[in-house]
Amino acid sequence: MRRRLPGWLADAALILYFLFALFPVAWMVILSLKPADKLFSTYFSFTPTLESYRTVLGDSEGIPFTRFFVNSLVVSVGAVALSLVVGLPAAYASARWRFKGSENLMFTLLSFRFAPELTVIIPLFVLYQKLGLFDTYVGMVWVLQLVTLPLVVWIMRSYFADLTPELEQAALLDGYTRRQAFLRVALPLVGPGVAAVSLLAFIFAWNNFVFPLILTSHEAQTVTVGALSFLGGDRPRYNLTAAAALVSVVPPLLLALTIQRYLVRGLSFGAVKS
């Protein structure tokens, strides 16, 4: 019974899957390079042009795409920063002390990962209209916490838990205050974790669609919603849609490539340690 699956068969199966995984992206690149008049005629013979990118990034067709792009940057960075400020101390506390209700508290935080977005969005929509937060950066940053905060707390908790408390105890003996021990000893040691979780949280915030769809109109609208605008109108503008989709994918992809090594722990909330 030593029959082995031939290696080439396994490779062929892999290549088949990766064709499925990569073809759509490659096809978008092709679509985005097509001149507008060649969109529906011949498929594979055309002279590539950057016209679609110029239109999309030049804010033509009445769609302020660069503004959406900047908006995405601002609200994603804002959400990550706020999550780090409140999330790191919470993660540290829950990793270092077993206090009454700590497990329930952590589960509550994680459970927001599983809540249907629309449950809170609709009341928030009504509330934001009243408070003047509708279609604002503050409103978006506030609501994106739902996505980024549980991520920061849960992943950083497992990083802090892996850190031996003796280092901080030594620092305390040297006359550091607890705050100093946290800021100067514990935090630098989990630095790579903080970097990875920040980038991961950024990606999740950037990719969110429901919150900006309902809680913004155009002032604070983000690229995920903005990219859909090119599909509207009287005739479908496939090349523009493709270009917009590709441009909006660039930041998360660049970040993903830089944090690839840490991604597993992040994606699984620390449940699979490797």
């Binding site: 270092r96 508290l105 249907p116 449950t119 995920t224 991604l263």
Partner: protein, 294 residues
């Protein structure tokens, strides 16, 4: 360090807790709204207590949505599990081809699902999409992918599979790499075949790792919104009208706020209960696995 049951941990958790309350408040507000007949047509709502939920549960539209949602979640999570584990097993053999491909495995996962849905929408256009163009030589050039009920549901599941299979594959691969080597050596010494080893050793030992991914995918698919919104908007007919899309249409499009929210509350209750049961069971399975292998 632990001697003084201090206030400090509570103080450290407090800001995160306050932010969380900022979300709990609208949630409670939403729950409160569902007790009224609050809508654009009725800005001065009457208290109707549980009437919204009664209406909801007596409507075929709700049960249709619930059914479609379950079909979608089971279909997507199931297909992603099978495909993801298969891809992980193939990559684990680590051929030169595999090592190159592994580096780009996570690519679809980093693309916003709504963008992925747009991409697929363009590719699946019946007359001008590339999928039918490629199928034409095989006599299948006219498939109405998203314009028939079954096609629309299958297409949206396919987009979910495209986006999230790497998620299962990445976690399964990490699991495979952290499995202890000795059982496999023992099996090899005993002359166990490849298929036997896979079925009796690899898959059972891998399952606790994969389960994390399966649970995440199942819970997430139950509350799918962006993929369906961009691909089919619930149609044709009600064939892809999952609960969150129905809630969106009721609350935002038709401005029946209370009624729309009651859809999401029912979904929330189901997802929350499922999460509690699954996470608890997961803990038990992982503890069991730890005892067996360590």
């Amino acid at each position: 360090m632990r001697r003084r049951p201090a206030l400090r941990p509570y103080l450290l958790v407090l800001p995160a807790l306050l932010l969380t309350c900022g979300i709990l408040y609208p949630f409670a507000l939403g729950l409160y709204y569902t007790l009224f007949d609050f809508s654009a047509a009725k800005p001065q709502p009457d208290l109707v207590r549980l009437h919204n939920y009664g209406t909801l549960l007596s409507q075929d539209a709700f049960w249709n949505s619930a059914w479609v949602t379950v079909l979608y979640a089971v279909g997507a999570a199931g297909a992603e599990t099978v495909l993801g584990v298969a891809v992980a097993l193939l990559l684990h053999r680590s051929s030169p081809v595999g090592r190159v491909l592994e580096k780009i495995l996570i690519l679809p996962l980093m693309i916003a699902p709504v963008i992925a849905a747009i991409i697929w929408k363009l590719m699946l256009q019946p007359s001008v999409g590339v999928v039918n163009h490629l199928l034409r030589p095989f006599g299948l050039g006219g498939v109405q992918w998203t314009d028939t009920p079954a096609g629309a549901l299958l297409s949206s599941i396919a987009v979910d599979v495209w986006v999230y299979t790497p998620f299962v594959a990445v976690l399964a691969l990490a699991g495979l790499r952290s499995l202890p080597g000795s059982p496999f050596e023992a099996a090899a010494v005993d002359g166990a075949g490849r298929w036997y080893t896979l079925r009796r050793l690899t898959l059972p030992m891998l399952w606790p790792y994969v389960l994390v991914a399966v649970i995440f995918r199942f819970m997430d698919s139950l509350k799918v919104f962006d993929i369906i919104y961009a691909l089919t908007e619930g149609g044709p007919g009600d064939s892809t009208m999952v609960l969150q899309i129905r809630a969106y249409l009721e609350a935002i499009r038709f401005q029946r706020y209370s009624f729309g929210i009651s859809y999401t509350i029912v979904l929330w209750a189901v997802v929350y209960l499922a999460a509690m049961v699954l996470v608890r069971r997961l803990g038990r399975i992982q503890r069991g696995a730890a005892e067996v292998s360590g």
